[in-house]
Symmetry: C2
Subunit: 132 residues, 2 copies
Amino acid sequence: MTWLDQVPWNEHGLVAAIAQDAASGKVLTLAWMNREALEQTAKTGQAVYWSRSRNKLWRKGEESGHAQKVREVRLDCDADAVLLQVEQAGGIACHTGRERCFYRKLDNGRWVETDPVLKDPAAIYREGSGKK
Amino acid sequence: MTWLDQVPWNEHGLVAAIAQDAASGKVLTLAWMNREALEQTAKTGQAVYWSRSRNKLWRKGEESGHAQKVREVRLDCDADAVLLQVEQAGGIACHTGRERCFYRKLDNGRWVETDPVLKDPAAIYREGSGKK
């Protein structure tokens, strides 16, 4: 039984993957991994996820350049999750051009945006600027 | 449309909920919330989850005493997740008696336990000691 067999893959063959900035401690993203994604993450030292919307492997940063260098991988007790400590390229983890995906905060019954857009998504994903 | 309607509930009516220790920045747990759990979390200031194994609301700490006082709730861009900043009662978030659920680290192809058991689970969940 390998370390990959010990991961409690869910009914879709996925595990939730939390990425935390190794320097600031901020939680940047929650994404999903299948077995191949986790294996490649461990092998390459770069975060590889499973895109549920595109239904394929997603090498974080392949289009945006905002890759995540993985410093540590942790597994939780039973809730189907791994935790990555990452170095976030460009200081931008979110496709909206923000540092992190968790940029809205609950404040008196509404979600308030607290984090600025650091780079225009149109510029991040401009045709031809991709890293594919 | 209320703030609860803006949460991208998944096909099971759930959203992933990451709890991060407000003081240390450590990611403690990944659990799940349904609409009622999130509403009650916001209302009471104490983490309430949806137990997928028991199929009912789970007031964190109701049996163990290890409640989570919620200081902040954040919502992510699109990945169906909320992020809580919490004060962890007893300094133990995991049902195994450890500080956090992410107590295993990937090290050369195997999961290595890095975090000690702070309290024997048998003592935490001993009959009669429950907080129900």
